[in-house]
């Protein structure tokens, strides 16, 4: 294999800590008593529940359906009863709860009826709908709905398909273990991707710190009837980032603000490919994944885990130790601190990293920025982090955007190398959040302005119409009255005519008042009628109450 490789700019070499969790085989984590399955596990709209509390569900049964194009379904990871559909803690940096479906498992692990799909015989859009309903999302970390990514679109074909086995984050080994033990199935998934995207060049990028995975993937690729090039790439964080992997393998850069498909390249994680193979060849939805449990535990290893399993069961399984200082979901560079250990494993959970004082010493206090530009040297997005920091800190978000804030991939390289130990990425996340919030406020303000202006226009129009109508009516009435006195003589004066008009109007108003009855009251049950009476009684009472203070006030002086 003598493929020319390209070097992406920046990057760092943190200690790898991969060997800890690769020495033990993959274990299947036992079935927990309770599964908490969040509805927002992917990018896009959260799934909509399609089951009710108390309903019995089977393993693999869809419990929430995709809502819209960029969304994907969620499934029961095991058989049991839906115990609740409510807000539960989820693995998110905010620590806020989110809507989840809780299933009490019955221990029978009974599958719903499922069958392999003959993907070659199916129409592509139909196949993608199936994949969306099977809950497929990118397992590399971004959890973008796979069905969307597998659509090459009408205008652009996708000649190059890259399978990302980079796994550059320290500590994480789930992709490594998957490639070592399930290389054939990963490549079955690749065949399906190739079919859907019409790719002609297929590259598998694996960092050189995973020789076993490289061997296993290479021997599996040799058995295929189409060409898959397994490429060894130098290990450097964040070399497993999609954009970096693309540059390393092809020398091309994804244009700023565009997608890789715009330059004819699509990237999938090896885990996604494996899940795709399971979905097509076995009809299994995405209900489990490999999770590395490592760090400050007795037996660091990889588990096959059902989505929704509480994280503490995995830590107990790996052997929890004293002196734990926190738990991360993901690696040390981009991972998210877990608010509590009851949170479930979700589709994005690639690693549960238990921290200790020795492995993760508390970060030193920050000093002011000395503009040394080490961050700029380390930035794989080739930004000027020191300038972005200055703008974000000062709240100058416009300038931050001019300096390409939104090209930041939040890889953490800048914070990692900063000699002043400034949490730079936190500032970028803050600035991005503020910009998004402001855009939202702006849209809300624009809507309010539009509605207010329309209201004013409507009021003007109504006023005008009313005036016109009144004028026309008065004209008509006067003509009518003028016709009558002609018979009765000139006894009725103009003033009398006006009086008659007012009297008529009053009578009309009275009639209208008594006429007005609530709508939709025909064909009601006696209970409902009774309820209405009650409400009416309450209203009269309130009206009296409302009148009383006025009367008492009037009496006072």
């Amino acid at each position: 294999m003598s493929r020319e490789l390209f070097r992406f700019k920046g990057g760092v070499h943190p200690p790898e800590h991969k060997a800890e969790s690769t020495s033990r085989p993959i274990h299947a984590a036992p079935l927990p008593k309770k599964l908490v399955i969040p509805l927002r596990q992917h990018i896009g709209n959260p799934a909509k529940p399609v089951v009710e509390v108390g309903e019995r569900v089977l393993k693999g049964q869809m419990i929430a359906a995709a809502d819209g194009y960029i969304s994907t379904a969620v499934h029961a990871s095991s058989s049991g009863t839906v115990a609740a559909i409510d807000l539960q803690p989820v693995p998110h940096i905010s620590g806020l709860p989110d809507l989840c479906i809780t299933i009490e498992t019955d221990g029978r692990d009974e599958w719903v009826a499922h069958a392999p799909l003959d993907y070659q015989a199916m129409e592509s859009p139909q196949l993608r709908m199936q994949l969306r309903d099977l809950g497929l999302a990118g397992l590399g970390g971004a959890v973008f709905p796979s069905a969307v990514k597998l659509d090459p679109g009408a205008s652009h074909a996708c000649p190059t398909l890259i399978i990302n086995g980079g796994e550059c984050e320290p500590w994480i080994t789930c992709d490594d273990m998957l490639m070592r033990h399930h290389a054939d199935e990963i490549l079955q998934g690749v065949a399906i991707m190739r079919h859907l995207l019409g790719s002609t060049e297929i590259l598998v990028g694996i960092e050189d710190n995973k020789p076993e995975a490289l061997d296993s993937m290479r021997s599996a690729a040799a058995k295929l009837d189409f060409a898959v090039e397994v490429v060894k790439v130098p290990a450097r964080y964040p070399g497993g980032g999609a954009k970096q992997m693309i540059e390393t393998l092809t020398g091309k850069q994804v244009p700023s603000g565009k997608l890789s498909t715009d330059i004819g390249i699509q990237v999938f994680n090896v885990g996604t490919s494996y899940a795709l193979a399971r979905a097509i060849h076995h009809g299994e939805p995405l209900i489990s994944r490999l999770v590395t449990v490592t760090g400050h535990v007795l037996r660091p290893q990889n588990f096959e885990v059902l989505i929704g399993t509480p994280m503490h069961t995995l830590i107990t399984l790996a052997g929890d130790r004293d002196g734990t200082t926190g738990v991360l979901m993901g690696g040390p560079m981009m991972g998210v601190p877990v608010p509590n250990l009851d949170v479930p494993v979700v589709k994005a959970t690639n690693c549960i990293l238990v921290k200790s004082k020795e492995l993760f010493p508390p970060l030193p206090k920050a000093l002011p920025c000395i503009r040394c530009t080490r961050c700029a040297d380390a930035c794989p997005a080739e930004l000027q982090p020191q300038e972005l920091f200055r703008f974000a800190k000062a709240g100058d978000f416009g300038r931050a955007q001019e300096y390409h804030l939104f090209d930041c991939i939040e890889c953490g390289c800048c914070s990692y190398v900063c000699p002043s130990h400034i949490p730079l990425v936190d500032f970028y996340r803050y600035a991005k959040g503020e910009i998004w919030a402001r855009e939202k406020d702006k849209r809300a303000a624009d809507l309010a302005r539009e509605r207010h202006e329309f209201r004013q226009f409507r009021q003007e129009r109504e006023k005008k119409e009313k005036a016109e109508k009144l004028a026309a009516k008065a004209q008509a009435k006067r003509a009518e009255l003028a016709a009558v006195p002609a018979a009765e003589g000139a006894a009725v004066s103009d003033a009398d005519a006006k009086k008659a008009l007012i009297a008529a109007a009053l009578a009309r108003a009275q009639a209208k008042k008594t006429d007005t009855a609530p709508k939709n009251v025909d064909q009601l049950t006696p209970e409902q009628l009774h309820q209405i009476e009650e409400i009416e009684a309450r209203r009269t009472k309130i009206r009296e109450l409302a009148r009383k203070p006025l009367e008492s006030e009037e009496k006072k002086p």
Binding site: M334, G335, F360, P368, S415
Partner: protein, 342 residues
Amino acid sequence: MASPFILDRTSVTQVMAWVLAALLPGIATYVWLFGPGILVTLSLATVTALAAEAAMLKARGYPAKPFLADLSAIVTAWLLALSLPSLAPWWLIITGTLFAIVVAKHLYGGLGQNIFNPAMVGYAVLIVSFPVQMTHWAGPNELTSVHLTLAQSATVIFGGDVPRTTLDAVTMATPLDALRTGLLQQLTVDEVMTHPIFGHYGGVGFEWLAGAFLLGGLLLWALRIISWQVPLAFLAGIWLTAGFLNFYDAGRFGPPWFHLFAPSVMLGAFFIATDPVSGATTPRGKLVFGLGAGFLTMAIRTWGGFPDGVAFAILLMNLCVPLIDQYTQPRIYGGADKEPRT
């Protein structure tokens, strides 16, 4: 606090400590060739800088410990001390250091906030205010009949009673000063260069000092504490400007190697112009910054009122940094080849 949860081992303290370490070859050469007087100047500047830093931190309500430990005040003190004449009086050293730390550093907001290099501000203030005292350079041992001991140097610096004849025997005009004075007297460069102070490339002794600073600078570059752009561009700026002038009229303008092998140039190129706080940050910006500083140094040496122009050149370029940075923003990953300016 969120990700990342691990850090590289480098710290500001470490960076500053390496800068100090890289100055040691220069200081050793200084002592060897010009006598131990510089040690007195260095110590006095260091003590003053630390005291001023501590006082300013307290006055501004900042913790003293982390900021004194970052060693940045000592770096400023040493750079200023090495720029001063080695037998400058004590009050000159203290005034310059105080100005550097109090005004140029802390009144601008402390570490990381100063737009001018503090050591150079201190130097500029002194040379403008006390031009006579700023000529008290000890000549190289090779050329002077009297060699001062550490105690004698201290006596000179602290204004003790030293016979006038001793002082005159020790101090000498620097090579740059000699060249300047000679040229002002309508002598040609070749005629001036017959003066014993001129050595192979620069001045006797001075060229070795320059070499020692260069060595320290290369160490900093090897450790990636400084980038190559600024020193190279600075040296190139001097060499090209001096070379062009010398080519134009060798009789009126000194040879480029002579201009390059001045200690102030090497110190400026590797230790002062590379100050990240007051320097340009983008790769192309660093080149512009260095070239500009080199050109201005030569311009001031040739047409200005001072024998050397490194300090003023760097201060002037400090002034241009925001502009340089804004117009030299590099292309980002996936960015257009030509960035539209906003």
